[in-house]
Amino acid sequence: MTVSSVPTRRHNPIVFADWILVGASLLLSIIGLVMVYSSTQHRLAFQGEDANYFLVRQASFLVLGLALMALMIYVDYRVLRDLSPVIYAAAIGVLFLVLSPLGTATRGAQARFDLGLLQFQPSEISKIVLILAVASFCYQYRGDLDAWRLAQALGMAAVPMGLILLQPDLGTAIVIAATLLGILLVAGARPRHLGVILLFGATSLVGVVAVGALEDYQVDRLTSFVDQSSDLQTSRYNLQQSKIAIGSGGVFGKGLGNGSQTGLSFVPEQHTDFIFTAVGEELGFVGSSLILALFGVVVWRTWRIAQLAKDPFGTLAATGVLVMIAFQVFQNVGMSMGIMPITGIPLPFLSYGGSSMLASLAGIGLVVNIGMRRYT
C-alpha cells in the first residue's frame, strides 16, 4: 500500500485545476445552447428563416469562449496581474472607439463593433479587465486602503463606467459597480467608506433618473417592477408576460420547444436578456432550480478559490468574478421574475451573445488559473 502523493509545486499546475467549476460552467453553456435554440426555432421557422441560426452562432461563441478560457488558464495570472495597466489602458481605448463612428448603434445604444459576421461588445470584456486592474491596484496597497487610495480605485472604475453609461448601457455599469464594491469590501476598505460609496451611488442613480439623463425607456424599465399590476406600458406588459411565462411552467415545465410564451414572442428578448423565461416555462421549477443550483456550484467553487488563493491578488480577482457572476444571475433572474428592475444585462453562460459568453468564460478561466496556481 502506497501513500498517495501530496501534490507539490513540482507538478504541472493543471493537475490542481478545479474541474467541477469548469464542468458546471460548461454544462450551463450547453443548457444555454439548448434554450437559445428552443426559444427561437418557432419564430425563425415562422418567419421562413433558418431555425438553427441562433444555435449555430451561439455554438461558435462557445467554441471561441472555450479557447479564451484556455488562454486565461494557461497564462499565469500573475503575468496578467502585471500586465493589467496595459490591458486596462487598451480597454479604455476600445471603449472610446466604440463611441466613435467606428462603433455601431443598435436599439439606441452605441455599444458594439460590427465585424461583419460577428459583433463585439467591448463593455462585456471590460468587466474582466476592470477586475484585473482594481484587484491589482488594491494588491499593491494590501490591507491598507485609505481614503485617497480608495478614491484612486474608484477613479479607475469611474472611467470605463462613465464610457459605458455614455453608450448608454446602464445594466453593465451597475454590474461593474457591484463588482467593484465586492472587491473593495474584501480588499479591506473601511466600512465607513463603503457606506459613503453606497450612499453616493444610490443618490447619483436617483439623480440621474430625476434629471432625465436616461432615456425614457430606461426609466420605464427601471421602475416598472414597482407597480406590476398595471400592464399599460410596454415594459409592464413585458414584465407581466415574463412572469406568466415562468409561472405557467409549473413544477415540470411545458417541455423543450413547447413554451408558448417564449416561442410566440409574448416575452421579448426571449433568447437574450429574458432567456430565463424560456428555462422557467419549458423546464419548470425542477429545471430552473437545477440551473440556479449550477450557478450556485460556480459561485461556491469560485468562493472557495478566493479563499485558497496564494496571494491577495488572486483572492480579490476571484472575488470580483464571483460578485460579477452572482450579481448578474440575481439581477437577471430577479428581473425575469419581477423582483428586480429591468436592466439589460445577460444571464451568464445562458443568454445568447458572444461578448457575454467570452466575458463569462474568461472570468472562469481566470478563477481556475488562480485556483490551480495556489501552490506555485
Binding site: 406568466i244 440556479l292 479563499q307 440575481f330 421574475m337
Partner: protein, 661 residues
C-alpha cells in the same frame, strides 16, 4: 490571508446565499403556488377562438315542401395580414376583377365589425368566371381567398314574405338582448317573421375555430375546428298551395278594386285550422322580396319600403292592420244577446229599414227593410236594424250586463294580441265606458266626448264605432265559434325537426280560453251564416254562384271609416256543419265585402278543398330530411334562384317611385 479578509469573504458568501435564496423563494411562488393563474393567462395569450356561424335550418310547409333553404354563395375574402403597398396593389387588382370601386373594397376592409382573424368578405355572390379569374392570378393576389358561405334562399320568391320574414346582420340592440347566447357582431339573425320567432331553433350551433397566435396577434397555426351544426328545420302549419292561392287572389282582387276606381291600398288574408289554431295561409299585400335582404338592403330601398305612399309593404296587415270589423262582428253581438237572455234564436224583431235611438236615425245599409227577422235570418241578410235593436237592449241592461258585447268580444280575443309567434302584433281596440273616459281625460282635444252613450253601444253592435280589429283577430273569433268555444292561440309553427328528420318538438295547439257556447246557439248562428252564401237573400249569394265545394258558413262585412272608401271584409268557414277551416279576407278601401273580399275567400276555400284531396301532393305532416345542408330545391312558380336586388314587388298603381328600378 488575514483574518479580516476571511471574515469579509464570508460576508460576500452570506450575501450571495441570501440573494440566491430570494430567487428560489420567488421561483417557488411563481411556479408552484401561482402556477394555475399563470397557466390560464398563458393559454389566454396563445389561443384565439373564432366562432363560425352554422347554416340555418330550413322552413318547410305542412306537407314538407321547402319554403326557405340555404345555398352556398361564393364569397371573395381578403386576409387581414395584407398591408402596405402590397395591399394597395391587391385591392386595385381585385377592384377590376370584381367590378367594385377601390373605395368600396377599402370600406369593407376598414369595417371594424368583422371578427378578428377571419378574412374579410369583400364581395358576395361572385360568379364562377370571376372566381376562375381570381384563382388564375393566385400568385399575384396573396391573401385573397374564395370562401363558400351559406346564404338564405327563398325558392318561391315573395311567397309568404310576411310570414317567413327575413334575416339580416345582428344590430346592437339584438346583440344586447341575446348577450348570453354567443352572438357576435356580423352574425346573421332572423329579423321578422318565422325567421325571428324560431331564431333559436333555426340558428344551429356555431362552430369554433381555434388558432394559435403570437404576440402581434398573427395566426401561427390552426389548432383545430369544432364543426358548426346546422340549425333545426321548422315545419309550419302553412300550406304552400293555399298560401299561393291566397296571395294571388288577394293581389288580383286588389287590382280589380283599383280598376273599379277604389283606392284599395292593401289587404290581408288569413286561413286558420279551427281545430288547432294552425295558420294555413297568411297573406298581406303589398308585399316584398325577402331575398332582397340577404346581403343587406340599401338605405334607398329601405326608405321606399317604409314610405306610407308606397302603402308600407313591410307591414303584415294580417296582424298589424287595424280595421273596424263591420258586420263580421255581428256574431259577437249575437252571442252577447243570447248570453244575456235578451234573445233566443227564435226571438224576432220587425226590421223596417231604420230605427230611431235617442234622437238619431240608424239605417240599414242601402235602406232595405227585411220585415220580421229572427237571429239566423238577421245574419243571412245582415240586418243592421236587428243588431241595432239588440245592442240597444243590451245597453239598457243593468250595470254588469250593459257591456256584454264588449265582454264577449274580449272572450273571443278582440282587444288584445292573439299571441301568434310573430312580432309587432297589434292589440286592436274594444271600446267601453272606461276606455272612452280615459282617452278623453288624456287628450280632450282629440276625444272631446268622455261620456258613453247608447249610440256608442249601438254602433259597436254592428262592428263600427271605435272598434278596431286585425284580420287575425276576426279569424280567431270565428274559429272559436266554429269549434264550439275553444279559443286557440294561432300558431305558424307545427314542429321542429332536426337535420336527420327526427321530430324534436311539436308545437301543440294551445287553448287560451274556453268560451261557453250553447250548441243550440252555435247551430243557429252557423245556420244563419250558411244562408249568407246558400240563400238567395244572402249577402254573398252571388259571390258563391257556381261554388261546388262543401257547404260554407260565411259573413260579409263592409265597414266604414270616415273620409275613406269602405273596408271590404269576408269570413268563410267550411264545412258549414262542422267547420275545419276559417278564411278571412280584408281589403282596405276596397268597397263592399261581397264584391272584393268574398271572391278572395272563395278562391282560397276552393284551393284548400282541391288540394286536401289531391293524392299527388305529399300528405299533410310529411317530414323530409334535408338531402344536404344546402340542397337547392327545384324552383317552382314565382321562384327566383338569382337574388333580386330590390325588396319590393312592382306595384304599378302605387305612388310613383315605389317600385324598384
Amino acid at each position: 490571508m488575514n483574518e479580516t479578509s476571511r471574515i469579509r469573504i464570508l460576508i460576500v458568501g452570506v450575501i450571495v446565499i441570501s440573494l440566491f435564496s430570494a430567487l428560489f423563494a420567488r421561483l417557488w411562488y411563481l411556479q408552484v403556488i401561482s402556477y394555475e393563474k399563470f397557466e390560464v393567462a398563458a393559454e389566454g395569450n396563445r389561443i384565439r377562438f373564432v366562432p363560425r356561424e352554422a347554416p340555418r335550418g330550413r322552413i318547410l310547409d305542412r306537407r314538407g315542401r321547402i319554403l326557405v333553404d340555404n345555398r352556398t354563395a361564393n364569397v371573395v375574402a381578403v386576409s387581414r395580414s395584407l398591408v402596405g403597398d402590397e395591399r394597395d396593389r391587391v385591392v386595385a387588382e381585385l377592384s377590376q376583377l370584381l367590378r367594385l370601386s377601390v373605395a368600396e373594397i377599402e370600406d369593407r376592409l376598414e369595417d371594424f365589425r368583422y371578427a378578428d382573424f377571419r378574412p374579410i368578405p369583400v364581395a358576395t355572390e361572385v360568379d364562377e368566371a370571376t372566381l376562375v379569374a381570381i384563382r388564375e392570378r393566385e400568385d399575384r393576389l396573396p391573401g385573397v381567398e374564395a370562401i363558400q358561405s351559406p346564404v338564405r334562399v327563398y325558392p318561391h320568391g315573395y311567397l309568404g314574405a310576411h310570414v317567413l320574414g327575413y334575416v339580416g346582420e345582428i344590430n346592437d340592440q339584438e346583440l344586447e338582448e341575446r348577450e348570453d347566447e354567443g352572438y357576435e357582431l356580423g352574425n346573421t339573425i332572423g329579423k321578422v317573421g318565422v325567421e325571428r320567432a324560431y331564431e333559436t331553433d333555426l340558428r344551429g350551433t356555431p362552430g369554433v375555430e381555434r388558432y394559435e397566435v403570437d404576440r402581434s396577434g398573427q395566426v401561427v397555426r390552426e389548432l383545430g375546428e369544432e364543426e358548426s351544426q346546422q340549425g333545426d328545420d321548422i315545419q309550419l302549419a302553412l300550406d304552400l298551395d293555399v298560401q299561393r292561392s291566397a296571395e294571388i287572389a288577394l293581389e288580383s282582387f286588389v287590382q280589380l278594386a283599383r280598376g273599379q276606381g277604389k283606392p284599395a291600398t292593401g289587404g290581408a288574408v288569413v286561413a286558420l285550422d279551427v281545430t288547432t289554431g294552425g295558420v294555413v295561409a297568411m297573406a298581406s299585400y303589398p308585399t316584398f322580396e325577402p331575398s332582397g335582404f340577404v346581403h343587406g338592403i340599401s338605405n334607398e330601398t329601405w326608405e321606399r319600403l317604409n314610405r306610407p305612399d308606397c302603402n308600407l309593404p313591410l307591414n303584415n296587415r294580417a296582424i298589424q292592420g287595424l280595421y273596424p270589423p263591420g258586420s263580421t262582428f255581428k256574431i259577437v253581438t249575437s252571442l252577447a244577446g243570447l248570453r244575456t237572455g235578451m234573445i233566443t234564436p227564435e226571438t224576432t224583431i220587425v226590421d223596417q229599414g231604420s230605427i230611431e235611438i235617442g234622437d238619431r236615425q240608424f239605417r240599414n245599409a242601402g235602406g232595405k227593410s227585411y220585415g220580421r227577422v229572427a237571429l239566423p235570418r238577421a245574419l243571412t241578410v245582415s240586418s243592421d236594424v236587428y243588431f241595432y235593436s239588440l245592442a240597444k237592449a243590451i245597453d239598457d241592461l243593468s250595470v254588469g250586463q250593459e257591456e256584454e258585447i264588449q265582454n264577449v268580444a274580449r272572450l273571443l280575443g278582440f282587444g288584445e294580441p292573439t299571441g301568434i309567434e310573430l312580432p309587432f302584433e297589434q292589440d286592436g281596440r274594444v271600446p267601453d265606458r272606461e276606455w272612452k273616459r280615459s282617452v278623453h281625460a288624456a287628450n280632450p282635444d282629440a276625444f272631446p266626448e268622455g261620456n258613453w252613450f247608447t249610440g256608442d253601444t249601438v254602433n259597436i253592435g254592428i262592428g263600427q264605432g271605435d272598434l278596431l280589429a286585425t284580420p287575425l283577430q276576426v279569424a280567431t273569433a270565428y274559429a272559436t265559434l266554429a269549434n264550439g268555444g275553444f279559443e286557440y292561440e294561432p300558431h305558424l309553427g307545427a314542429r321542429v325537426i332536426d337535420r336527420f328528420g327526427a321530430v324534436l318538438r311539436e308545437v301543440d295547439p294551445e287553448v287560451i280560453s274556453e268560451v261557453p257556447i250553447d250548441p243550440a246557439w252555435q247551430s243557429a248562428i252557423l245556420g244563419g251564416l250558411r244562408g249568407t252564401v246558400a240563400h238567395q237573400e244572402g249577402t254573398a249569394f252571388n259571390a258563391f254562384q257556381g261554388y261546388r265545394g262543401p257547404a260554407v258558413a260565411a259573413k260579409t262585412g263592409t265597414s266604414q271609416i270616415r273620409g275613406r272608401e269602405d273596408t271590404s271584409l269576408f269570413v268563410g268557414m267550411f264545412p258549414a256543419d262542422a267547420p275545419k277551416y276559417v278564411v278571412v279576407a280584408v281589403v282596405e278601401e276596397g268597397g263592399a265585402g261581397a264584391d272584393i273580399a268574398a271572391p278572395i275567400v272563395r278562391h282560397v276555400i276552393e284551393t284548400i278543398v282541391s288540394t286536401e284531396g289531391d293524392p299527388q301532393l305529399p300528405p299533410i305532416g310529411t317530414v323530409i330530411a334535408p338531402l344536404g345542408s344546402t340542397s337547392a330545391p327545384v324552383p317552382e312558380q314565382g321562384a327566383t334562384a338569382e337574388p333580386v336586388p330590390d325588396g319590393l314587388v312592382p306595384d304599378e298603381t302605387a305612388a310613383a317611385g315605389c317600385a324598384g328600378p
